[in-house]
Each structure stands twice: as C-alpha cells, then as structure tokens.
Symmetry: C2
Subunit: 224 residues, 2 copies
DNA sequence: ATATGACTAAAACAGCAAAATCAGTCAAAC
DNA sequence: GTTTGACTGATTTTGCTGTTTTAGTCATAT
C-alpha cells in the first residue's frame, strides 16, 4: 500500500470520527482501527494528534477552497458578488470542518480551541474578504459607494449565521439550503452589483487569484 | 420606600450583576447587597431565583420592544423594511439580555438554559417575523416575489450574526455599530422594497400592532 | 525496509467524604 | 404592618484515593 493512499485513509477515518465524536473523544486507537492500519503507522504520517487535526483542517480548507473556485468558474453568475457568495455558502455547507472552524465549535474542535497557538488564531491577519471586495470594486463588479470592510463583515455575519442557526433552532424550522442561499445571493446582487453591466469573468479571475495566493502562502516549505 | 421603587432596584441590581457574572455565579445575597435591601425583601417581590430571572427577561423584552417601536415611529424611514430592521438591531445592541436570549448565551443564562420549560422554549411558536413580512407585502411595502419565511430567516441570521461576532473575534476587528446597521438597512431596502413608492406609515402601524399583540399575549392574567 | 501492537508515563476519570456555598425561611426587631 | 439577617437543608465544590484511559514509543516480526 502506498504512503499517500494510507495517509488519505487515516485522514478520512479521522475526519469521520472527529465529526461524529469530536476531537477530545476520538482516540488515536479509534482512528487507526477505523483506518485499518496499526497505530504506529499513523505516527509515520503525523507527529502528534494535534498535528493530525491541523493536517485535516488544512486538507479541508483546501478542498473547500477548490470546490468554491470550481463552482465560481462553472456558474455563469460566478463572477457576481451574489454568485460568488452562494458558491461559498454551498461549499461551506459541504465542509463540516470549515464550518466548525468558522463557528469555533467546541463540540467538534474541543480542547484544540484552547491551545494558545492554534490555526484559527494564526490566520486572523488581514481581512482577505474586504480585499476581494475592494478588487471587485476596481473591476467594476461592486458599487463604489459600499465600504468594503463593512460589506465583508456583513458577509461574515451571514456565513456565521447560516452555519450557526442549526445550533439554536430545530432543523425543521430552517428553510431548505438551496432556496435560502439563492435568496441571499439575490439580496447581495441587488445591493452590491452596479446597475451597469460588467465583466463576470473578471470577478471569477479575482476569486481564483485570491484563493491561489492564500494557498501558496499556506505552504512556504514548497518554495525553493 | 415604595414597593415598586424597591422592585426596580432589585431588578436593576440583578440585571447588572447577571450581565457581569452570569446567572449561575450571581447569588441572591449578591443581589440583595447590590440593591441595598435585605434578602428577605427580595423574596417579597419574587418567589424564586428562577422567577427573578424571568421577571428580568420579561422586563427587558418589553423595554426592548418599546424602544424598537419608538424608533420605528420617530424615524422617517421607520416603515421601510430597512428602517424597521435597523431600529431592531440598534435596540438589540442596547439590551444585553435580549441579545443573550437570542444567542442562547450559556455564559449569561447559565443553568437556566437547561431548564426544560424556560421562557426561550415557550415562545418558539409561530414565526412572527415571517408574518410581519407577509403583512408588509400585503401593504405593498415589500416585493411580492420574496418568500416571507426565507426572508425572515435571513433577518434572523443577520441579528444572530450581529450579536454573536463579538464572541469569536476581537472588538477592534468589528466595524462601528452605526455604519454597520446603516449598511444592513440599505441592503435590505434595495432587496425587499418595491421600486414604486409606498406608505411608510402603514409599515409603522404594522410594527406597532405586532408588538402590542405580542405584549398582551404575554400577560393573560390581566385579561378579564 | 516497513509495519506492528505491547508497553509506559502522564493525564483523565470515577468514587467518596468533608467542607463550603447558597436558595429559601421565619422568629425576632422595628 | 414591614423588614431583617441568622438559620437550615439541599446542593455543589473540594481534596483525596485508586483506577482507567490514552498519546506516543520502540523492540520485535514481517
């Protein structure tokens, strides 16, 4: 069995278990058993449980970002603010760890959240969302009179709200995801998109560039 | 000293202490000391600690609703969806207990949240927000092609997001409240308000009626 | 080489009794 | 009549014990 194959199986096992039981209640023995490998083998891929979670989080972030780009590229309205954000919310709903990170869910992330130098605290640097909106403005895809920082914050409120409502109200009171994100997209479009037509492709390019920039800065060890 | 006066002082003391320390860590002795009355006197007004919190929650809900109505009535755009919601968010930001209830904050509400028949669970009945939006549509103040249930849910996501962001990011990363709610209001207006002019007063009346209906249904013991 | 699982040290946990806390009461003071 | 605060019993916390769990290792087997 190849290393890469086995690493995937370990990560998959860890992912499914941690989603179900949470980081604290999932043991390394559980993971190795679920992955069908020995415990020692797990430690050939990952130096510690904490690092395993971080690897997992990174993988999920990359998958999430990739899905986001892919949808943005393929949809005709992927370059509009609404289309962009709808793709983001749908990708978010598909990636439980991404959601757990965004809402800092202690049920899933458990004691990892309390570590002083966890991944969440690190990436609290510059406001990439605001920068994207600013670039969208320069490209003519977003109205000039909107403050990028405030708009970025509203987007954050919406994403946070979307993935958190399940915690405080029963599932059957929450509308279906599809129509809900469609409505959010149309709301954003009517608010942010200028009346004049604009180049949707420009928006798509901006998203791709932003994600690629973020992903290369994740892995400085690959630079040469 | 009059009963009513003292009751206010007790409630004020309880409010300030519970906001700071949370329900669990605030003792009845703390409250009586802070209010400057004896413990026995507290029990002349309130039968139990739990009832004290519920009295407090009711008072805060009424104050919140009153402030909301007042601002809606006084502002020129109070009858538009945006103006209405801006007034609501500002009132929310002024009423910590209302916010704590909305976000089901266990830091503040503590063990009260776990009680099986608390106030929060009771009022989980019909979706008053959606009904208001439906009525706004009938009054011509909201576009017909918007689904009231979905729109109501988006409003809930926005309120929840607004009062919850402080929990997951530092205060200095959050924009000022005024410009933020202005932006949200203008977003909602551009999304929900029809292009044709409409009667803003009609919207104000709807809000007043809704709040009054809710407040009278709170006190069935006063009927007769 | 590569992979394993018994092993270890450290941490988490369950059980328990003593001590402290606190919601609620009521005889006494005003 | 009104108000008080010392008092009470139930609950929670604390400090301790012995036991179990678990992250990570490494001598051995493949």
């Amino acid at each position: 069995m190849h290393h890469v194959q086995r690493e995937q199986r370990v990560l998959d096992a860890a992912s499914s278990l941690i989603c179900r039981l949470g980081y604290d209640k999932t043991t390394m023995d559980d993971i190795s058993r679920e992955a069908g490998v020995s415990k020692g083998a797990v430690y050939l891929h990952v130096p510690s449980k904490e690092a395993l979670l971080e690897t997992l989080l990174m993988r999920e972030m990359h998958r999430y970002a990739s899905q986001w780009i892919a949808v943005v590229q393929s949809e005709p309205d992927g370059g509009t603010m609404g289309g962009m954000f709808r793709a983001m919310l749908l990708a978010l709903a598909d990636h439980p760890f991404m959601s757990a990170m965004l809402r800092e869910d202690s049920q899933i992330l458990g004691s990892y959240l309390r570590k002083p130098d966890n991944l969440l605290r690190k990436q609290g640097g510059r406001n990439t969302r605001a920068i994207l909106i600013e670039q969208m403005q320069q490209a003519g895809a977003v109205r000039e009179d909107i403050d990028p920082i405030i708009a970025a914050h509203i987007l954050k409120m919406l994403s946070y709200g979307l993935i958190s409502m399940g915690q405080i109200m029963s599932e059957d009171q929450i509308p279906e995801l599809g129509p809900l994100v469609d409505a959010i997209a149309s709301m954003l479009d009517s608010w942010m998109t200028p009346l004049l037509g604009f180049d949707s492709e420009a928006g798509k390019t901006l998203v791709r560039q932003m994600v690629e920039a973020a992903q290369t800065s994740d892995k400085p060890e690959q630079s040469e």
